[in-house]
């Protein structure tokens, strides 16, 4: 069924339409919240808040626009607002291995171990990025969105997104370098 049709049915209160939206977008929104906040519990609460906002704002949706970008903008605004209000940067992210099980790869076990260690450092390093930079990096390097899509979601020019992504990668790379050098010295 066409997405706009699903939204119209949602607005009419038809059963099943809302469920369809939940099935289509809940995983995407939850993963965005989880990568941003770093806590599973927090991400569940944030996802629920974002869907509550979606439910209330659905009547304001402009059918000419891209719904996915509109929903992710709503999610982004909520995440940044909550971040500014509660200052998550002071809280710790979940233990990396708690929710991210090692993914299977074709590489050797040693290479897998190195990759796993890198992931852990980068996961913890995400906490050090500002909210805007963190979101830009998540959209680009985790969710694999184009710069144009990210610019639409974030409501800023493509150039700004490129410089945020570049800055975020540099910061994370320097954290990774520093940690690796630290462990090599030991």
């Amino acid at each position: 069924m066409d997405l706009n049709e699903v939204i119209k049915q949602c607005l009419e209160g038809k059963e099943g339409a809302w469920q369809m939206l939940v099935n289509t977008y809940s995983k995407r929104v939850f993963n965005l919240a989880y990568h941003f906040a770093g806590s599973y519990q927090e991400a569940e609460d944030l996802t629920q808040d974002i869907f509550l906002k979606l439910y209330h704002s659905l009547s304001k949706y402009d059918f000419e626009k891209n719904f996915t970008a509109w929903l992710l903008t709503l999610a982004k605004n909520h995440l940044i607002d909550t971040y500014r209000r509660t200052k998550w940067e002071k809280t710790n992210r979940d233990n990396f291995n708690e929710n991210f099980l090692a993914s299977e790869s074709a590489e050797s076990p040693e290479a897998d171990l190195v990759r796993e260690a890198d992931r852990k450092i980068v996961w913890e390093g995400l906490d050090r990025l500002s909210s805007d930079t963190r979101l830009a990096v998540i959209f680009r390097d985790i969710q694999d969105k184009t710069y144009e899509e990210i610019a639409e979601i974030m409501g800023v020019p493509v150039g700004t997104i490129k410089s945020r992504v570049s800055r975020g990668r540099l910061e994370l790379a320097k954290i990774l370098q520093a940690k690796k050098e630290g462990s090599d010295e030991l």
Binding site: F51, Y55, D141, R169
Partner: protein, 172 residues
């Protein structure tokens, strides 16, 4: 080209977004600078790490919480519907007036004087009530006196065996 400028270009270089001239400058610099080569390698490792974060499945609890949002909202709306009944409008109007007056009293800078004048009025009222009560008591006493004298004079009437007409008979 210095290392700072190369740092700025590395991300675009990795994504193949540089012009041929810039690309050549970066590559020349990387061949000569060990620090920038290490940073380049760290950025590629960072990207690989980020793209390796798996997408998590959402829990069944969260899914059911999200699915229940319209139902919960509908129930909440129904539970508050009684507040919109027209019959409650005078109650809300009266409550509004009362709360407005109360707020005038509570937030008035001269609240102390208002309290004192209310106290005085209450005392005055109480005194008046006491006076009225005392007057009512004396009135009752006077009514009792009138009753006794009226009863006494009635008893003296001849018709009731009294001596009221006696002087007349003596004259006859």
């Amino acid at each position: 080209m210095n290392c700072e400028r190369i740092e700025e270009l590395l991300s675009a270089y990795i994504e193949g977004e540089l012009s041929a001239a810039e690309k050549s400058l970066v590559e020349t610099h990387l061949r000569a600078c060990r620090d920038c080569t290490l940073l380049y390698s760290a950025i590629t490792d960072t990207r690989a790490a980020l793209s390796g974060f798996p997408e998590l499945e959402i829990s069944e609890t969260l899914k059911s919480r999200l699915s229940a949002i319209p139902e919960r909202k509908r129930r909440f709306r129904f539970s508050l519907d009684f507040l919109l009944k027209p019959s409650l409008q005078p109650v809300f109007a009266a409550a509004t007036v009362f709360l407005t007056l109360l707020s005038f009293y509570l937030f008035n800078p001269d609240k102390k004087y208002i309290d004192r004048s209310i106290d005085q009025k209450i005392h005055q009222g109480y005194n008046q009530v006491e006076k009225l009560y005392a007057q009512t008591g004396s009135l009752t006493d006077r009514l009792g006196d009138y009753k006794d004298s009226i009863l006494g004079s009635i008893k003296n009437w001849k018709i009731f065996g009294g001596k009221k007409d006696e002087p007349k008979q003596q004259e006859e």
